[in-house]
């Protein structure tokens, strides 16, 4: 990929942004330099707290006033230093020469304004077009982002659109004035993989057609491999490495970059010993959950969240349930943990049907199934110590406090934390540490089945690898059956023995991980696999 030597659209030189006093470090970003050429996609990649978003906001002139201030360096947009512009001048530049798209298409659009008007607003501010010309421009840009039936969609409200369509509207609004630079801050993180693939394709296509420079912020190396021409790797506010995508991914020079890339789970499943005929721990037969939307006067409306799901997990085996949002995978997990009551079918835990049990009858079965949730920040009571969280379950079942405390200490050691930290409160731990505590809490009950509902989705890639390792480790050590819910094919490939793919409440395909990855049978599974970003790229195989 040789690029003609042209003047860069964006040239960031020695950018330093100061954090308010009392933060954990002095600078949010320190001495950051990189450039974006016309028609080039530059990915800034890093974990949470690396300063990648602050960099994007500094370029856009959107640093929160009074809290973050750029203290040194220059941000040159076609030679103009943006850091020296007045707020009025910046307002004129934003939307016209630079524009930005955000992570959350739900909240970035005004819910009470028609989407066409939101795109037209940009034209209204920056141009003096007539009503009719404006509408024509809006329709034109909506067509170019491949929104179906722009004539109809121009007059709808955001809630009538899907997540992917909303993000297309955001991109249309960003591109309507043909900016020279587009800043995309994690634009696909909140989207499903199939939608993500379409949006990434759209961004690639648009930058080629319009020759826009794109500054793309992401944490996902799959996305980097998919779209980037050049990569800037950030850690703790500093650039640790930058270069052409091929070079950085294949021949990283920096240790941190190597660690990050190595932590990306591979899409090809490692060989796993075929599960012997171990006893079945969990079996669901025709498990269904139907929600009734009940209105006072309106007719009842049925929503079939889960339809006739048959799953089987043996002792010592990990079954992955893979699907996009709304596929019903979390509903399955919550039914099995009996946080909700299924409307049909049976859930056999070691032969006993728990699907219909009332609260009292369910209690003895509670300890057999434990669940680990997605959000480590909300799964521990902020007002209670970690020790109280871990000992709560065993003590509910009559264990003496001293015995429960000993078990908690052992478990803390097992999950790789200091046993003396039991007296601390959850806010004193990082996300990965909290997820370890949640695993310890689940293990304290000595369960037969561990349900892990997206346990690593909220974690950084390096921490993610450690937590996955821990889950696999406890599975082996305690010969646990694990039901692993995830949307991430890479994660599923690494930890699951078998995989069930869910789509619209039904299991469309099930088989051993190796078989499903090698030869997906169902059309949806194939679409899902084709959408995985960076699927053609084998991460972690470095050339010397």
């Amino acid at each position: 990929m040789g690029w003609p030597v042209t003047a860069p659209v964006l040239d960031v030189q020695g950018l330093t942004v100061r954090l308010p006093a009392g933060a954990d470090r002095v600078h949010a970003v320190e001495n950051v330099s990189f450039a974006v050429a016309p028609g080039e996609i530059v990915c800034v990649v890093g974990e949470s707290g690396s300063g990648k978003s602050v960099t994007a906001h500094a370029v856009m002139g959107l640093l929160p006033p009074g809290q973050l201030t750029a203290t040194a360096g220059r941000v040159l947009l076609e030679g103009d230093d943006l850091l020296r512009k007045s707020p009025t001048e910046m307002r004129r530049i934003r939307g016209d020469r630079i524009s930005m798209i955000f992570q959350e298409p739900m909240t970035a659009l005004n819910p009470v304004m028609k989407v066409g008007d939101q795109i037209a607003e940009v034209l209204d501010i920056h141009t003096r077009l007539s009503e009719r010309e404006r509408r024509a421009r809006v329709l034109d840009v909506m067509t170019s982002v491949h929104l179906p039936e722009p004539e109809r969609l121009i007059d709808v409200y955001p809630h009538q659109l899907s997540g992917g369509q909303r993000q297309r509207i955001m991109i249309a609004a960003a591109l309507v004035l043909d900016p020279v630079l587009l800043i995309a801050d994690e634009p696909t993180t909140a989207l499903d993989v199939t939608t993500q693939a379409q949006i990434l394709k759209l961004i690639k296509e648009l930058r080629a057609r319009r020759n826009t420079g794109v500054l793309f912020i992401t944490h996902d190396f799959g996305v980097v491999a998919e779209v980037a021409h050049r990569v800037v790797v950030m850690q703790h506010g500093r650039v640790v490495e930058q270069g052409r995508t091929e070079d950085v991914l294949r021949r990283p020079r920096d240790d941190y970059t190597r660690m990050l890339i190595r932590a990306v789970p591979s899409l090809s499943p490692p060989p796993r010993a075929p599960a012997a005929a171990a006893p079945i721990v969990l079996q669901t037969t025709d498990l269904s959950k139907t929600y009734l939307a009940r209105g006072f006067f309106a007719k009842r409306r049925e929503v079939k969240a889960v339809k006739d799901v048959n799953l089987q997990v043996r002792r010592g085996e990990t079954l992955g349930v893979v699907g996009e949002s709304g596929s019903g995978k979390s509903t399955v997990a919550r039914c099995i943990a009996r946080l909700i009551e299924p409307t049909g079918g049976a859930i056999l835990i070691e032969g006993a049907d728990v699907a219909r049990l009332g609260a009292r009858a369910l209690r003895p079965h509670r300890k057999r199934v434990q669940i680990v949730f997605q959000d480590p920040y909300r799964s521990l009571n902020p007002r209670r110590t970690v020790g109280a969280a871990i000992t709560e379950g065993p003590m509910n079942f009559g264990m003496a406090e001293s015995e429960a405390a000993t078990r908690a200490r052992n478990l803390m050691r097992l999950v790789g934390l200091d046993p003396d930290a039991l007296a601390r409160f959850p806010h004193q731990f990082s996300g990965g540490q909290r997820q370890r505590i949640c695993i310890a809490r689940a293990l304290a009950m000595e369960p037969e089945l561990l349900v892990a509902d997206e346990p690593v989705s909220a974690l950084d890639v390096s921490v993610q690898a450690q937590v996955l390792e821990l889950i696999d480790d406890v599975r082996k050590r305690f010969n646990l059956a694990v039901l692993f819910i995830t949307h991430d094919l890479r994660v599923a490939a690494q930890v699951c023995d078998r995989i069930a793919v869910m789509h619209k409440g039904e299991v469309v395909e099930e088989g051993t991980t190796a078989a499903v990855f090698a030869a997906p049978k169902h059309a949806y599974t194939r679409a899902l696999f084709d959408s995985a970003p960076g699927r053609h790229f084998e991460f972690g195989k470095f050339e010397v």
Binding site: R363, K367, N396, Q428, S430, G432, A442, M445, E469, D473
Partner: protein, 308 residues
């Protein structure tokens, strides 16, 4: 393959510890202002007999409707004479308004605080149950909707007329319309907290329902309830004054700010001090309680502050 604990020690803690809550509260001007005035009123109420007052119910037919500052020679119980200054004048029955205002603080504060505490206790109990048990919810909330549909003052008037007039019946009459508001607040918090993963994890751990509510759900309602409590307190003080002003609350011989104003209403044009002094005290107290509540809300319950 287990993970090295040493590696984890390197992971930064998520947040540095915040300054203590008392420290943060003491830095807020509104909280200090409100708390000082309320404290002042409480001290006045408690020490009323020693603040140069006389019996607030004592009628003096020969010395009616006098302006503030007037002096009179009165006889003590032992027969000696002394000069008594009516700092705020006398009312149409010759009672000392200064004494009545000072003693009136007792009634206002007792009613405000009692109503706040009791209605929060009742509302918390009903709200927790309504929020957690779905089948109770439908019945209880419709009942609460019904109660809220009746104007608070009308309901209070109806309730007072059912019992003998007195402080207790006024307290009950104010609590009844306040409880539904607390129930709604608690219920809404319970409904959102019960979806929190840590509550669901406790359910999976087999925690019995009463412990679940007490350990994991109830503590989340406390900040909002402290804030709500101050607003209820202010509202109760006002409602008591309104009831007394309308002549249906506390019997006229007991001095309350509302009673004093009701007494002075007829001659307001000629002797405005009858209404002026208790009015100032009432306004200042209610303002202080509200300012304190606003300050506490900003500190304790940022979510609520954004919603209001």
């Amino acid at each position: 393959m287990s993970v090295e604990p040493a590696l984890l020690a390197g992971e930064p803690a998520a947040r540095p510890p915040k300054p203590g809550l008392p420290g943060r509260l003491a830095r807020d001007g509104g909280i200090i202002f409100g708390a000082l005035i309320i404290l002042f009123m409480i001290v006045i109420g408690i020490t009323a007999p020693w603040l140069g007052t006389k019996n607030p119910s004592e009628i003096n037919p020969s010395f009616r409707n006098r302006v503030p500052g007037i002096e009179q020679t009165i006889r003590n119980d032992d027969g000696t004479a002394r000069t008594f200054t009516y700092r705020m004048g006398t009312d149409s029955l010759g009672r000392d308004i200064y004494s009545r205002v000072i003693y009136g603080a007792r009634v206002s504060l007792i009613i405000g605080i009692t109503v706040a505490v009791i209605s929060i206790a009742i509302g918390l109990f009903i709200g927790l149950i309504a929020g957690y048990l779905r089948w109770v919810d439908a019945v209880v909330m419709r009942l609460m909707d019904g109660l809220m549909a009746i104007p608070a003052i009308l309901l209070a008037i109806a309730l007072v007329s059912l019992f003998r007039a007195g402080v207790m019946s006024v307290i009950v009459a104010i609590i009844v319309p306040e409880v539904p508001r607390v129930v709604r607040l608690v219920r809404s918090i319970v409904l959102s907290v019960r979806e929190e993963p840590y509550v669901e994890a406790a359910i999976c751990a087999g925690t019995p329902t009463h412990l679940l509510l007490f350990r994991h759900v109830l503590p989340n309602t406390i900040p909002a309830l402290i804030v709500q409590g101050t607003f209820i307190c202010a509202n109760a003080i006002l409602l008591e004054a309104i009831l007394s002003f309308l002549g249906i609350g506390i019997p006229p011989e007991t001095p309350t700010w509302g009673n004093i104003m009701a007494e002075g209403r007829g001659l307001f044009r000629i002797y405005p001090h009858n209404i002026f002094f208790p009015g100032i005290c009432l306004a200042l107290t209610v303002l202080a309680v509200n300012v304190l509540g606003d300050g506490l809300r900003d500190k304790l319950d940022p979510k609520l502050a954004r919603r209001v």
